[in-house]
Subunit: 364 residues, 2 copies
DNA sequence: TTGAAAGCGTTACCAA
DNA sequence: TTGGTAACGCTTTCAA
């Protein structure tokens, strides 16, 4: 849909089919007099000819428009013709005519993000499909922010979800292009968009308060070396600091070797606690610490976040922070609501979308 | 794109804008004489008027068509006008005219599938975006197989990936709708599609051979209770059987409680090995077995599949079967190749796309 | 070098 | 009840 190949200009749509056996110079309604190209899909005009009615009638019947009443025999003929010909409506033509689409744009994160977010996206897509929207995944691929907005606007989406790093101008372009709902999912709200605030500082704060309550003072904070995760990692770190804990950054790549090094670091620095960004990083580091002879939680307390099943499998069971995003179904319903009746004042409702719960287990 | 709301027929595109101040009855070229609706995006005609040129010239300049040469001053004026007006081309109109799209359809799995597959999909989307395709996620949502094909064909995708449960008729519809590449990713090939065979029996076979080699005879095979996973679980089970192992089905839900029950079952049945579908299920069950006092691998050997990091964190380290799918980048390149030069005889090349490697660690 | 005009497939208005 | 027709926004001959 986005771009057609610009290199090759001359291209015949149906090369197999020679010229029509009917009279060639017939400029009026050529589509209606076109022979049935067996190679390509038929158009509504083909169906009309086959059924012996007009294109309008075909449209009425196939969309069963309630405004007009079509006689039963005619309906039959149209339906038969459509079935015989294997008619499939052309979405682009339809939406061009209609002036709007049912496309919901969902940006693909540039880098793989955790399983929690993947599951969320999956559920969202499923829910949107059920509501008869077409989900289009669109990677920002280099061009970022407002430039991406222009590329997205080409599709004339009816809703756009979670455009990150997009300024008010980008949002404005999307709105002008017909987007009746623009929903951001992130730490701060953007002019013109309906914001679902996800402040990840809460995560760090809750974790740190728990650690402090259990008497730990010097906390290491794991920062994933994997690119793209800073969006979450940095606010979580800030949250830990805001809670009053003394912190040390611990950059950690997601592999065992690096984990062993960081484990050694933890001992050298004399840390008595680690908040590890994530259950996955937490488990990796906890295992490395145990392999190095560190007692958890006796020598060092370890905390994760996300409450993955994983955290319940190792011993000691991992203390963690559970994150509750709105479910995909809920978000899909929000989209649908906004599409039906657009938000008059999007910026007035900076809802907090992220609730955070401490799950204290045995690793702290 | 797919369907416009059918309930409300009367809808004004730009309700805020009253009638044009110019003369109303002007049926010839109304788009060109339309006033600049500030609420909506401008069309190429608006750009043309602003630049004082024809729509054709605008198209030439903006797509910098090499066939025609436009004077530099004109180019400037067009570009300026486009920028000032905030022109964004209309993808639907463009592809309607062009007769084809750059849409690649990627079906959303109906149920959440493992992290391995999620990562694969993510990478694929990224790679396709880089090649300037638009990735559209399409859930089959109820309507299955050939019915889904018709819904998909509405978008006139240039390529369709991994349509599961689709017969030759469905494929044919897609091809007629303009899909130059239809690639199935599954156990058996379908007439008319380019098949990347993923035979998961290999997985079970490799696992079973390993267990047999280590002297285990009576193997339990975990079958996830979560719906939708049978597509993989059943072939894996078959593979185990084909290798000659005596098998017992062990249905298991992905929670600790059910795992404890299955662990008890394993003891009662006197099994000496378990192939657990997946590393995740394997770890869950292994933990439950350990909690029940079973020695791994002394009493019972446990094997997983997928080679997740997870398997290296618990003790004993999990033996597993590594799966190598083609990378997202490779698959994207295959799509691109097939789009450029469609496969003359798709069915002739039933490549095996899944390579499988034993990773023997300490749990067996 | 530029412009006029046809046409892609669809739907909605207005007549008949 | 049905059909003609214009229009959605764009590209691309053909003609000037």
């Amino acid at each position: 849909m986005v771009q057609i190949p610009k290199q090759q200009s001359a291209q015949s749509t149906v090369p197999a089919q020679p010229a029509a056996p009917v009279k060639s110079p017939e400029p009026a309604r050529p589509a209606a007099t076109r022979p049935l190209a067996t190679g390509a899909l038929p158009t509504s005009a083909d169906v009309a000819r086959r059924a012996g009615v007009s294109r309008a009638t075909v449209s009425y019947v196939l969309n069963n428009t309630s405004a007009v009443r079509i006689s039963e025999p005619t309906r039959q003929r149209v339906h038969e013709a459509a079935k015989e010909l294997g008619y499939v409506p052309h979405a682009a033509a339809r939406s061009l005519r209609a002036g709007h689409t049912r496309i919901v744009l969902v940006p693909t994160p540039d880098v793989p993000i955790g399983p929690l977010y993947s599951a969320f996206l999956n559920e969202l897509q499923w829910a949107l499909s059920r509501l008869d929207y077409t989900v289009v995944q669109y990677g920002s691929v280099g061009r970022s922010g407002d430039r991406a907005a222009r590329a997205w606007a080409e599709l004339r989406p009816v809703a756009v979800l979670g455009p990150v790093g997009m300024g008010p101008d980008g949002i404005a372009v999307l709105r002008r292009s017909g987007a009746r709902a623009v929903i951001t999912l992130g730490p701060d709200r953007v002019e013109g968009a309906h914001a679902l605030l996800t402040d990840h500082r809460q995560v760090g704060r809750v974790a740190a308060e728990h650690l402090l309550a259990r008497g730990h003072r010097r906390a290491g904070v794991v920062m994933p070396k994997e690119p793209g995760l800073d969006v979450f990692a940095v606010p979580r770190l800030e949250g830990v600091r805001e809670a009053g804990a003394e912190t040390v950054r611990l950059p950690l790549a997601y592999d065992e070797q690096d984990a062993a090094q960081v484990a050694a670091q933890v001992r050298e620095l004399g840390l008595d606690a680690v908040f590890a960004y994530n259950d996955e990083y937490a488990m990796l580091l906890m295992r490395a610490l145990q392999d190095a002879g560190v007692d958890i939680p006796g020598d060092v307390a370890v905390m994760g976040a996300d409450d993955l099943m994983l955290g319940r499998l190792l011993r000691p069971r991992l203390s963690t922070v559970r994150l509750d995003l709105p479910s995909g179904r809920e978000l899909a319903e929000l989209v649908d609501r906004l599409v039906r009746e657009p938000d008059p004042a999007p910026e007035s409702e900076p809802r907090n979308a992220l609730t955070v719960t401490l799950v204290a287990r045995d690793s702290t």
